[in-house]
Every structure is written in C-alpha cells, then in structure tokens.
C-alpha cells in the first residue's frame, strides 16, 4: 500500500513540472542574472558579426581608399577610416574573427589542459604532485605578458605562436584552482570505491573525478575568454602578435598611436571594441560563477 501511494505522489510531482518554453526560460534567466544575459548578448553579437562578416561589413577590410585617408566618421564610413583609408568598422568586424578565434581556442585548450593536469596532480599526489606543482610555480612566477613575450620572441610572431604564448600561462592557473578542488574530491570515498572496483587511473581521473570539478573548470574557462582577447590585443599592439594587414584590434591600436591626436576615431573604436568584448565575456563569466557556486546561489 505504501509503495503504491509513494509512486502516485512521485508521478504527480513529475506532472507538476512541465517543460517551460525557451522564451520563458530566457525571461527567468534575464531576471535572475541581468548582467550575465547582457554579457552574453555582447558575446552573441560578436559571434554573429564574426560569422557574417562578409555580409555585415560595408567594405573589404583590406581595401584602401586613398581619396579618404584618416577621414572622420561619416555616412560613407560610419566609424571613419585609418591612415590607408581602410574602413574602420569593416576592420573591427573582421577583427572580431581574430579575437574570437584566439579567445576560444586559448581558453578551451588552456583550461582543459589545466583541468587534466590539476586533477591528475591531486589524484596521484606524492612526488608527482610535488614536481608538477613546482614546475607550475615556475610558470606562475612570470607575469602573464612577460611569459607570452618570451614565447613569441622564441617562436616568432604569427597567430599560432600568439595562441601558444597565451595558452602557456593559462595552464598553471587553471591547474592550480582545479587541483585544490580535486584534492577535496580525492578524499571522498567514491574515489577509493572506484579504485576498489579495479578501474585504471586514467578512467578514475577522466570519468569519476573530472565531472566533479566542472564548476571551477567552467569558471576558469569563461575568465580566460576575456583575458585571452585582452592578451592577444596586447601582444598585437606590441607588434608580437598578428601581423598587418590582417585585421586585429590590437594591431589597429598600434597603427593608431601615430595618428590619434589628429584622428581620435582610429584609436577610440578599436579600444571600445576590445573593452566591450572583454567586458561582455567577464559579465558572462561572473554569472556562470554565480550559477555554479552553490554558496552564492541562494542570494
């Protein structure tokens, strides 16, 4: 008798929660995390701009208009032109491709490598942990930009090398955070239970421990997105990143530094683009953290 009534109540519960339409979910979400949704909107806008650059951009970003060099914002050139008469709006739109590529590749590769290293470090412990952590300490000892500079200086400029340069300092940061979480997980009996079931170390790390540290991993990932874009812009600004004539925001700032007194739009708009995108990613990242961190969830 008891079981029958239990089943009924549970069945009722399941009926009570019907699937919400996605519009309702979006409204709920934007009420709970307005800033996060705003950040996400910026990110989505950027992605759309990058994907549809060929359609959206008014001009070819490489096309030089020598009749209107350094002309201010006008009907023809909404955000003005640079010193070669290239349309700044089009270069910004195409530049978002570079920014997004670097941002996503670096954030995903960097945090995933850090995730695996961090969990492995916590799982094996002992000498392996000690050695790995000291190696990571060495990487952490360098300021981010110096380490990236060293990599680019060794490997040469170019977008692949820039990505390597940005990924390298991300790995220890993520590994450190993930390791401290994984150390706590390591002590929970289900890890020992998995060992007692005869699973291999790789299986325990990837299948049993990694899913339990997804929250810090995703938080690091979203933080890295903004950071990577900023770093790429910095490296390009220093002439170590993407090379002319490929449109990239940092590079546009470099060229602008000579002319911005007379033509401020050449510096302002790329700067705004960088700030806005990093701002968007950071807002989104903060919301992800709020949602994933149970300590903050109740607020």
């Amino acid at each position: 008798m008891v079981t029958v009534s239990e089943v009924q109540t549970e069945a009722q519960f399941e009926e009570v929660a019907p699937k919400k339409p996605w519009t309702q979910i979006a409204v709920d979400l934007s009420r709970k995390q307005p800033l996060g949704v705003f950040g996400l909107a910026i990110v989505v806008a950027m992605i759309i701009a990058a994907a549809l650059a060929d359609v959206v951009a008014p001009y070819n970003p490489l096309q030089e208009h020598f009749d209107s060099m350094l002309s201010g914002p006008s009907e023809d050139y909404l955000l003005g032109t640079d010193e070669f008469g290239r349309d700044i709006l089009s270069r910004l739109i195409y530049g978002s491709r570079t920014a997004l590529l670097v941002g996503f590749v670096c954030a995903i590769v960097g945090s995933t490598a850090g995730l695996v290293l961090g969990v492995a470090s916590a799982y094996f412990g002992g000498l392996f942990d000690l050695m790995l952590q000291r190696i990571l300490d060495v990487f952490m000892a360098f300021p981010l930009i110096i380490l990236a500079l060293a990599v680019v200086a060794t490997l040469g400029p170019g977008i692949e090398n820039v990505m390597i340069a940005i990924i390298l300092p991300f790995i220890p940061q993520c590994a450190r955070v993930v390791r401290s979480n994984a150390l706590a997980i390591r002590e929970i009996p289900y890890v020992d239970a998995a060992r007692a079931l005869g699973f291999s170390d790789a299986r325990i790390i990837l299948r049993h421990m990694v899913p339990n540290v997804m929250a810090p991993y995703l938080i690091m990932l979203t933080t890295f997105l903004g950071q990577a874009i900023l770093l790429e812009a910095s490296l390009s600004f220093l002439g170590l990143g993407v090379q002319d004539p490929i449109p990239a925001w940092g590079l546009m700032l470099t060229n602008a530094s000579e002319f911005f007194e007379g033509a401020p739009w050449v510096a302002i708009y790329p700067g705004v683009a960088i700030s806005l995108s990093v701002f968007g990613f950071n807002l989104f990242g903060d919301s992800v953290r709020d949602v994933l961190d149970p300590k903050l969830r109740s607020r």
């Binding site: 239970a193 007692a196 079931l197 005869g198 699973f199």
Partner: protein, 330 residues
C-alpha cells in the same frame, strides 16, 4: 578444499613524522569459499587497514605493506604487480564501504556506476550490462529498478544507496566481498535489513564475505567465524558461537560486557572498556592490552602472548586464557 584467502603474518605500517605506526602487525587469518568471517575491534585496531591491504588500497606513502603474504587463490596479492591487483579488484574481490552517502559518485547515474565495472571487467556490451544492472537492483530489493537506473545518488536514501553499493559489489560475480562497517552509517532498522540482505545474497550466490565491524550483535548473527583484533594483532579467533558464549581473551570479554544485551537481565549500567587504545607508535614488547586489562600479571609485560589453542578452532592470545576465567561470569 584450501582456503580462498589466506592472510599470513601481514604487516602494514605507516611511516609518519611522529614515528612508525604499526597499524597491522603480524595478522593471520583465512577465509574459505562461501564463508562469512567477521573482524571485530574498536577504532584504530587495524581491522580496516587489514581489509584495505588485501586490495592494496593503502595510501602509499605513508602506508606500506612491509611483510607477510596475502594469498588469494594461490596468488600473493601483497607483492604482485599493480596491473595484476587491478584485475582482481572489483572482479574477484569487491568492497562495500562504510559511507553509503559518499561512496557513490554524485554526478554519475546509478546505472552508469553499476554497468561500468561490468563493461570494464567482463567485456559486456552496454545493453547487456544495463539489463544486468536492472536485475541486480531488483535482487537487492530496490523497487522500480528500471526507473532507478537512470536516477542519481541524491534521489536515493542512505539505505537504498547501500543496496546499490551491494549490487555494485555483486556485479562481476566476485568470489569475495569485503564489507567495511557496511551498516555503521545507517539507521538501526535499516541495518538489520541490509545485513539480512547481504547474508542471503552471499549464501545464495556462494560468495565469501569478510565483514568488518565493531558491532558484536552483527557478529553473533551473521558471521561463521570471528577474529577479534586489538592494536594491530588478532587476540582471539574462533567460531562465532565460541567467541560469543565462551570468550577467552580479556579484551573480547570486555567488549561483550560493554554491549547492552537483550538476553540478559537489564544491568544498571554498561561496563565500558576503561582507558584508551594504545599509541601504535609506542608499543613495548609486552601485551598491548595490558594497561587496560583487569587480569594483567607481571608476565604480560615481558612478551606478547602467542595465540594458543583453546580447543576446537578457538585460539586466544593471553597468558591467562587457560586459567578458568571463572569470575568472568557473563
């Protein structure tokens, strides 16, 4: 028929900054196929460490098996390769842990956790393993197994989780199950159900079981044979009824007296074992129970008493076991 598992003079030590902890110091016992053997003792007596040593789950460092043999079907588990022991874990010997609330991974579904060892060890396909998982859940008395396999541990109560753990331990048809205080974290009413279930399943499937506990009631009802451990050694071993009704070692006696019993007139108060378990880094050569023992004599300080036969399969490690412990009078 030879014993399924023979532990011979096992020594597991922990090398800590405070000195060497001889958690297990010369323990020998065996388990026959299909038999239930209990290992009893208070916290820190080395009963869990012995069990973990069998599957080589002792964290190293600081722990290490420094001596002795663990022969399982003729193979010495104490010093075989990591790959060989992994083959045996989960497949031939499985383990049930104390904490059902934390022994299941919260982010993996019940079905995934149940099928994983079958896919890994028995080469089953996912569909076969899932069918068997449903059968196993049914076997351990979980209602609606087909729905339960897709649920997560937080959907289940403690008792149900322990049932799932039992199902997991049975998944690969092991020959031996080690249950480390399987009911300590459960309500008393659930404890009996779980123990009854384990007893029935191991009997029906012919699986041997080592049950580690500090609950003597469990021992009396469910174990065939009992090993009483104190400070890393076995102090008394024998058939369950002998240990329960004719204890020969003062420690066993003290343990029995400290438990409320329904079959005796109600005592005004319980008689706990006085004092603390000894510091395992600082054991002298004598009997380690001596400081807490009512029967201690000078001889006890000189050497550790060996296990002596008391008749039948009953052994006790006390110089005075042979004397009639008349005043014991339970």
């Amino acid at each position: 028929m030879g014993a399924l598992l023979e532990i011979d003079n096992l020594q597991t030590h922990f090398f800590t900054s405070g000195g060497t902890v001889k958690a297990v110091d010369g323990v020998s016992y065996d388990v026959n196929a299909g038999e239930t053997v209990a290992v009893v003792g208070e916290s820190g007596s080395g009963k869990s460490v012995t069990a973990l040593s069998i599957l080589r789950l002792i964290p190293k460092p600081p722990g290490e098996i420094v001596g002795g043999e663990i022969r399982f079907q003729g193979k010495n588990l104490a010093f075989c390769s990591e790959d060989e022991i992994r083959e045996i874990r989960g497949r031939d010997i499985s383990m049930i842990f104390q904490e059902p609330m934390t022994s299941l991974n919260p982010v993996l579904s019940i079905g995934m956790q149940l099928t994983e060892p079958m896919i890994a060890h028995m080469g089953m396909s996912e569909a076969e393993a899932r069918e068997r998982a449903v059968k196993l859940l049914e076997m351990v008395g979980i209602n609606e197994p087909r729905r339960r396999v897709d649920q997560y541990p937080h959907h289940l109560s403690g008792g149900m989780r322990q049932r799932v753990m039992i199902a997991m331990s049975l998944a690969c048809e092991p020959k031996l199950i080690i249950a480390d205080e399987p009911t300590t974290a459960l309500d008393v009413t659930i404890q009996a159900q779980i123990l009854e279930l384990m007893k029935n399943l191991t009997r029906d499937l012919g699986v041997a079981m080592i049950i580690i506990t500090h609950n003597l009631g469990v021992v009396a009802r469910y174990a065939d044979r009992v090993n009483v451990m104190y400070a890393g050694r076995i102090v008394e071993t024998g058939v369950a009824s002998d240990i329960y009704h004719r204890p020969r070692h003062p420690y066993t006696l003290a343990l029995l007296k400290s438990v409320p019993r329904m079959d005796r007139p109600r005592q005004a108060k319980l008689d706990p074992v006085d004092g603390q378990p000894p510091d395992l880094t600082r054991l002298d050569g004598g009997c380690s129970f001596r400081p807490r023992c009512k029967f201690a004599i000078d001889k006890c300080a000189e050497s550790f008493p060996p296990l002596e036969e008391m008749g039948g399969q009953h052994y006790s490690a006390c110089f005075r076991s042979k004397e009639s412990l008349a005043e014991i009078e339970l």
